[in-house]
């Protein structure tokens, strides 16, 4: 079982847009980039033009520590696509700055995953795009 820690052939990948490019460029360089509102300081993810809290724009790109905890998760047992080998874990990570990101928890037996576990970002080179993924830390 790979637990998606290796890039799989044919995995569907996001297409960076003008708006999201800094997030994906950062991942390529090994940095987890997120938007922050210059007015109310809210972190904003998924990338947006304006702050969903106060509508300020443009938003600033800042680097996250990449450290967080598993806020919730699912273990997928029915493969949604041939490139995802089940079982694998998709989880909402609560980053320590106070924002949520959906990602994969890699390199861990899915049966041992639980809400609240500490994780840290790492980067999965998938060719055209590098994906931020998370691994359990002590």
């Amino acid at each position: 079982m790979s637990y998606v820690s290796a890039p799989a052939e044919g995995r569907p990948l996001p297409v960076p847009t003008e708006l999201s490019a800094p997030h994906w460029d950062g991942a390529r360089e090994g940095r987890l980039m997120v938007q922050q509102c210059p007015v109310c300081e809210a972190y904003v993810f998924i990338p947006r033009r304006a702050c969903p809290q106060c509508l300020a724009e443009p938003l600033e790109w800042v680097e996250s520590s990449g450290k967080g905890t598993i806020y919730s998760y699912t273990i997928i047992h029915r493969p949604p696509h041939p490139a995802f080998e089940p079982p694998f874990c998709a989880a909402i990570i609560a980053l320590e700055e106070g924002w949520h990101m959906l990602s994969n928890v890699v390199g861990t037996d899915p049966a041992t995953i639980a809400v609240g576990q500490a994780v840290a970002v790492e980067f999965l080179d998938c060719g055209e795009v590098t994906l931020p993924v998370f691994r359990r830390v002590n």
Partner: protein
Amino acid sequence: MANFSKKAAIAGYGATEFSKNSGRSELKLATEAALAACADAGINPSEVDGISTYTMDNNNEQEVARAIGSKELKFFGQTSGGGGGACAPLMQAAMAVATGVAETVLCYRAMNERSEYRFGQPIQAQMPTSDNLIFAYHGFQGLMTAAALLAVSMRRYMHESGATQDDFCNYAMVARKHAARNPNAFFYGKPITREEYHASRMIADPFHLLDCCQESDGACAVIVTTAERARDLRQPAVLINAAAQGSPWGTMGLGAYYKQDIVPRDECAAAARQLWATSGLSPKDMQMAIIYDHFGPTVLPGLEAYGFCEYGEAKDFIKDGNIEVGGTLPVNTNGGQLGEAYIHGMNGVCEAVRQIRGTAINQVADVENVLVTAGSGVPTSAVVLSRDV
């Protein structure tokens, strides 16, 4: 404050059989259910002057109108989505009828969901639509089905409420028990045991196969007209006492992961506030409820959102037998979408009509008010239907 309370009524309903392969087109299914609803109400289909359906229905309003022989439509529209929209066409119809825009409004949902497309299949994002821009951050992590997307939200619910797989099993067993006595249910005569539930394969943890609604072919329709006119028609009027939609801040389609609280409850709670305010009723006034079960476990936060129990207490409410026929609040007496069929909640509306008329298979005693809800975790809707007293 909404002012259409009790001004409109469901005068008739109709449905096709529920199957895995209807063997005919969705337009034929819609037509059959619509004509059955007209016949039940005792109106001539030519009188239908309004249509309200869902954006996910593939049948255009004018084609259904032509198929049933409607003379002229004055009002036609679709409300957002599928499961979240389950009760919204009734709200649109009630507003149209209460304002005099139309007098006889047909609402329908017709689908060959099982035999032709299957929502359970992975969603494929292509065009950069507003939905697909979000999907890029969910689908590429492997959350490509409704089951997977909602599973994440329900895992958080388990963490916060202490609900377990056994609690989810308790709902599935009730739904299948109700369906087992309903000859129109796909799972008629097929109750499940606790062992069968736990042995059913895991789809997306915590959802077992037996937590997932069916994929169905079939159609349901209702006729909405003024309460005044409904009283002169064949069947007892079923009043639309209150109807509401809910889409509070942070709502997304099956993936509102960016709020502080991701439990799929906020949308339903928003609809609930409006329903209870506009009807002057409270959860205690309901003799039963149809709680949307695209996935059985979501019935738990659903019961909490509409105020039948405190947050986190639905597991005990269900365990104590309240939601079975004979309990304090029988739920999904038709077997729900786990047991009867998955027609985006419209089959639940039909069951509420039967219960108020007193003609249901699993009849609840002396039903005056029924809450019917739509899907959670998406922009949603709900309605309170009442006996004409």
